[in-house]
Every structure is written in structure tokens, then in C-alpha cells.
Subunit: 213 residues, 4 copies
Amino acid sequence: MNPLQPPPTPADVKETGRIDAFSDGVFAIVITLLAFNLQVPSPAQADEVGLLTLLAQQWPAYLALIVSFALIGIMWVNHHRMFQFIGRTDQTIKYLNLLLLFSITLVPFTARLVGEYIQQRDATIAAVIYGLGALFIAICYNLLWQHLLRHRELFLATVDRGFFEGTTQAYWIGLGGYTVAVLAAFVNVPLSMGIHLALAIYFALPLRVRRRG
Amino acid sequence: MNPLQPPPTPADVKETGRIDAFSDGVFAIVITLLAFNLQVPSPAQADEVGLLTLLAQQWPAYLALIVSFALIGIMWVNHHRMFQFIGRTDQTIKYLNLLLLFSITLVPFTARLVGEYIQQRDATIAAVIYGLGALFIAICYNLLWQHLLRHRELFLATVDRGFFEGTTQAYWIGLGGYTVAVLAAFVNVPLSMGIHLALAIYFALPLRVRRRG
Amino acid sequence: MNPLQPPPTPADVKETGRIDAFSDGVFAIVITLLAFNLQVPSPAQADEVGLLTLLAQQWPAYLALIVSFALIGIMWVNHHRMFQFIGRTDQTIKYLNLLLLFSITLVPFTARLVGEYIQQRDATIAAVIYGLGALFIAICYNLLWQHLLRHRELFLATVDRGFFEGTTQAYWIGLGGYTVAVLAAFVNVPLSMGIHLALAIYFALPLRVRRRG
Amino acid sequence: MNPLQPPPTPADVKETGRIDAFSDGVFAIVITLLAFNLQVPSPAQADEVGLLTLLAQQWPAYLALIVSFALIGIMWVNHHRMFQFIGRTDQTIKYLNLLLLFSITLVPFTARLVGEYIQQRDATIAAVIYGLGALFIAICYNLLWQHLLRHRELFLATVDRGFFEGTTQAYWIGLGGYTVAVLAAFVNVPLSMGIHLALAIYFALPLRVRRRG
């Protein structure tokens, strides 16, 4: 950006390194613990109905796991992509990043909720809460991103304009997409979960492909 | 500080790096597991009362989560701030840091206690224990800080005087503040939780703003 | 490989470093939580039968723990071996690595399943699922490896031919071996678990020894 | 050691760095999850007996937590001390380190066992198993150390003789001490737990003090 921008000092590198490491830790724990929502059926019940039947009946838990793993995975890639070009941090980044991590740690809870209630009367409520959780993550990313856009001196000198434009666009699409997912949950729960998966696939595509589409 | 102070060797950097990484790991696990205190209501109960009502009744768990996430988050930022300028470590730092991490790992337990008991007869006991847990963390930080103040050769040469004075002052305020939070719990539990939140916000402010106030 | 291949930039190093760190985090959490499948017998029951008897009756849980710890440990060493020579990453590596980590996070679940059902009527189903889980991991490694083979410019310039040949061969043996373990589960459950252990020992041997054999 | 010993290459540094990071991850998870053995008493019971009484009755769980936190903490410092001077790794180190981490992951289980059974008839069995777990860790450290002693070329050139002698001596004392703790458990359970604590304090002392004593 600014050719006179000084390169990050060792203390800067250490500081951004610890934010990366801490965030990676939280992402890694959350993504790993999602699979702990899977229940092992009790042998007593399996003796009557058969283990395979009981495992098959747990399909909502598998669906919640897959959608949530994709959600967290994509969010980790996004975090990675954002922080990769940051050379310096300030206090605000730390606190907005903490808020973002807070939104991430809620996912195993909302995932369990959706897995447990998708076949119940209150499926809509569970899916709306799940969607609100994802929307909360998108809002946190936008808060962090808006702060960074106002402090471009925190970026490495090598970042180009296309990165800023592409990322801004992607984050607005995220806000819009998760709002649609929340609204869709009021109409049809599987549709809402499908939108979550579609958004994860969309965000997984490289920046260039997305902007061409 | 001392212009003749030699820069840290690669072995020093590796050593402090592992303390950072280990501490970040503990902070990340603790902060992530706080959200695992949230319970998914049983579908049987939800069929009678409604899922939304059951979730709303869990408000003490959400309160405990938010206060505790703020507490751990701030403590992580403090840890970060302290170790950022340390160029060398000794055995005492390792053990005092372990003691500090011990105090951090107790928070999910005291948070569950407060979440479970805030509407019960023994709410005061739970809030006092929660406050003592936070005070214990503050004491551990002070022990570590007092040791560092007596061994300024462990710091990088670039640290200035204001950092030492500001940090010392902040830690004394921490000790005082959490003592007040414990005492307040005997009088009024929500007041005590409010003081915890206020302290987190206070510590979140940058050093300069705090000293001006 | 290509003597003109440019060395990795600092941004490349940071990026591969975060993939390593995130993957190490997931592996570390999974391998640690395996031991949480061990149950502490209830004192009431122990008063009648004796603690030692109750602990001895848990042998399937110990077997599942040992086999699974070996499985995850070996998979971590393999991950390590693969990424050690990668100097640059692309988006596809990130997503294939996430898929691989997904397969890893399922192991505590399939391990609990096998530990719980090995003495039940449905032992075969549990062992087949355990084998399919391991086969899924092997497939993910192959997907990642095939991508890397097509993009050798991502490797450090120092990697030699023998590494590529040896690794390719080892991964095909993995695919074959875990397929045999799945098939063996239909015939004899302990045999299938034995094959899992044998495969872990095989992969633990250094490349050179394996190719000589 | 050997003045002609070449300095570690970047690939060596990356490799030892990932072993450090993975091990730190396992240590961090184990040490954090120890506190999850603490139970929040049920409000129903607390209404009758009082929360404070119920919490006080849990003293064996606190004892098990403190002894185990000290055990894992000291073991982490030891791991740190050993790997700090390693410049290069081989496959055997990786597998012996995995075995060591396996022994570490068993501690939350044996700690829960001792916490649950210290006031029961089978307290001796629980304490013996706890001691055997600690002895297993000590054996794993010795296996790793003996391998390193036979491959001193893996160490950085700066390590001096006193380090090798002091560490060897400390590890023999560990083996002997934990054997005594196991034997003591047959006679008196609190005595055995006291020996565990004394050993942790002994290992916490710096090398020089220990050798003078």
C-alpha cells in the first residue's frame, strides 16, 4: 500500500503470532468437539432395535455435524486469509477478535440444539437460533474487517487493492446470506440448513472465481 | 532499560515461545469450554413448555458465560501484554505461570457453580466462590509481576518506564476490584457480577486512557 | 526438484505454519480425549464386586484406546512427514486438509462405539464402522497426496524422488490395509482390531525399512 | 559437544517445533481438563445440606486436582527442559514422545479414580493405580532420555556435560520415587499422595540446588 510503511518489528511479529495461535486453538477445539455431539446408543436399546437402526436414526446429528464442521472450517480459512496480511495489531483487533471467537464457541451449542430438535415440534426455533449464531459470526467478521479497512497501516505493504475489494464484497454476501438462512428457517428447516451448506461451499471457492460469477 | 543488555539468544526465544504456546493453549481450551456449560433442554420437556421458554429460563448460564468469557479474555490479553516484552525466562517464571494457569482452569467450574445457583438459596456462596476464583487469578498475576519487577533483565531492552508503572498500577486495581466483587457478593449477587463485568471493561481499555481517568 | 524454484516467502511460511498449528491442535485434542472414554466405575457397584474386577471388565475400552491412540499417533506422524517438505500452500490443500481433520475427529466416536459393543451382539457392525472410519482417513490422505503430486512446485526444492515414491507406495498400502481391516471385521472382530494395530506398527517403521521388506 | 556438529537446518527447526507444539497441546488439554473432574453439586441436595457442606465433602477431588496439576505441570517443565536443547529429531524420538504423551493422557482418568475412591473401601487399589500411572510417565521419560543419551548428535552444540549428568540423575530419582509412591499406597493412601506432592516439589527445584542437596 504505502511504500514508506515500515516492515513489522520482531515484537509485532510475536504479537500477531500469538493472536493467530490463540485463535487457531479456539477454532481447533470447537471443530474437534463438534463430533462429540454424536451419541453412542446404549447396548440395551441396541439389543432390541439393532445398532444400525439406532445409528441411522441419529441422522440429524450427522447433518448438524457436517453443516457445522463446514461452517467452522470456512470461518477458519477466512480468519487465516484476513490475518495472513496483517503485519501489526492494536488493542481493538484483540477485542474484536475475542468477540469473533466468542461467536465461534457458541456453534457446538447451537449445533446440538439443531441436531436434537430438527425432528421435534420446535425445529423452527432451533434452526432460527442456529442461523442467528451464524449471522452473529458474520457480524463479528464485519466489525473486525471494518476496523481493519480504517487502519490499512496494519497490513503488510504487499497487499493489493483487489484483496480489500474482494474481501469486503464477500463479507457483505455473508451478512446477506446468513440473514436469508435465518428467514428461510421460519419457512422450511431443511431449506435453511441447505443454505448454510451452500454458503460454506460459496466461501470455499477462491476469490477470483467468486468475483467472476 | 539497560543498553548493555544482550539480545535474547535463539534458545531464549524458543523457551519463551513454548511458555506462550502452552499458556495460549490453556486459555484457548478454558475459553472454549465455557460455552459447554450451556445445556440443550430435553425434547420431552420442550414439548410441554416450549423450547424458547426453556432456553429463556437458562439466563443465569448465559450471564455466567458472558462474564466469564470477558474475564478469561481480558486475562489472556493481560498475559499477552506481560509476556510480549519478556526476552528471557527463568524457572520461577515457569512455576508462577503454572500457578496462574491453574487459577485460570478453575473458572469453568466456578462459572458453572454461579450459573446453577444464582437463583437458589445458596446464590451468595456461589458468587463469593466465583469472586474468590477471580481474586486468586489477580493474586497470581501479582506474584508473577512482582517477580518480573525484581528481574528486569528478563525484559527486552525496548521496554519503557511507563509500561512498568502502568502495569503495576493496573494490577493493584485488579486486586482491589476483585476484593470488592467478593465483598459485594455477600450483599447482592447481581451487583457482584456487575462489578466483574465492569472490571473486565476497565482492563479492556488501553493503558493510556486508564491512566488519564 | 526445480533448481529455479523460488524459496518460500515469509507469507508462505506463516501460512503453512498456521495449517500445521491448526492441524496439530486438532490431532492433540483428539488424541487426548480418547482417554476420556475410560469410565470410573461407580463406588456403589465397586462395593459389591470390587474395583479391580470392574476395571478389568473394561478391557474393551482399553483395547479401543490403545488401537485408536496408535492410529491417531501414526496419522499425526504421517501428517508431519507430508507437511514438513511443503513450502507453499494453496486453497485446495486447506480444504483437503480440513476434510482430513474431519475424518480424524470422528475417531473418538468410532472408538467409543467399538469399546462399548465389542462384547455385544452388534460387535461386527461396530468394528465395520471403526474400520470404515480408518479407511476414510486413508482416503483423505490419498486425496491430499494426489493433489500434492500434481503440484510439486508446492514442495521445498530439497525433496528427493525417493520421498515421493515411498510415500505414494505407503498410501496405497494404507488404502489396501484398511479395506482388509473392514472386510476382516465381518469375519472376526478381534482379527480386525489386530490388523489395525499391525498397520499402525507398519506405518511406524521408517520409510527405508518398509521399502526393503 | 562436537564443534564440527552442523547447526540445525530450517527443516530440522520446523520438525522439532511441531513436536513441541503437539506436545504442548496435549499437556495443555490434559492440565486444563483436570479441573473438569470437579462436580457442581445438585441444587436439590444443596437445599437440604447446604452448598458449602457439599463442596467441602468434595475434598478428595480437590486433593487429586492439586497433586495431578503439580504432576502434569512438572512433567511439562521437564519436557520443555529436555527438548529445549534438541536441535534435530529422528523417528524414534517421535514414537517415544507419543508413548510419553499417551502416559500423560491417562492422568485425568487415574486422578478421577483416586478422587472418587479415596474414602471408599478400595482406596488402596485406586492409589496404587494412580502411582503406577505416574511411574509409567517416569519410565517413558527414561526411555526417551536413554535414546537421546545414545544420540547426542541430536542436541545443540551448546549443551554442557552437567546438563546430561544432572538430568540422568533426576530421572533415576523419578523412577525410584514413583516406585516408593506405589509401594507406600499399599500401606497408607494419604502418605502415597504426599510422596507424589513431595516429588513434584523436588522436581520443581532448579538442577543446581538439587545436586547440592
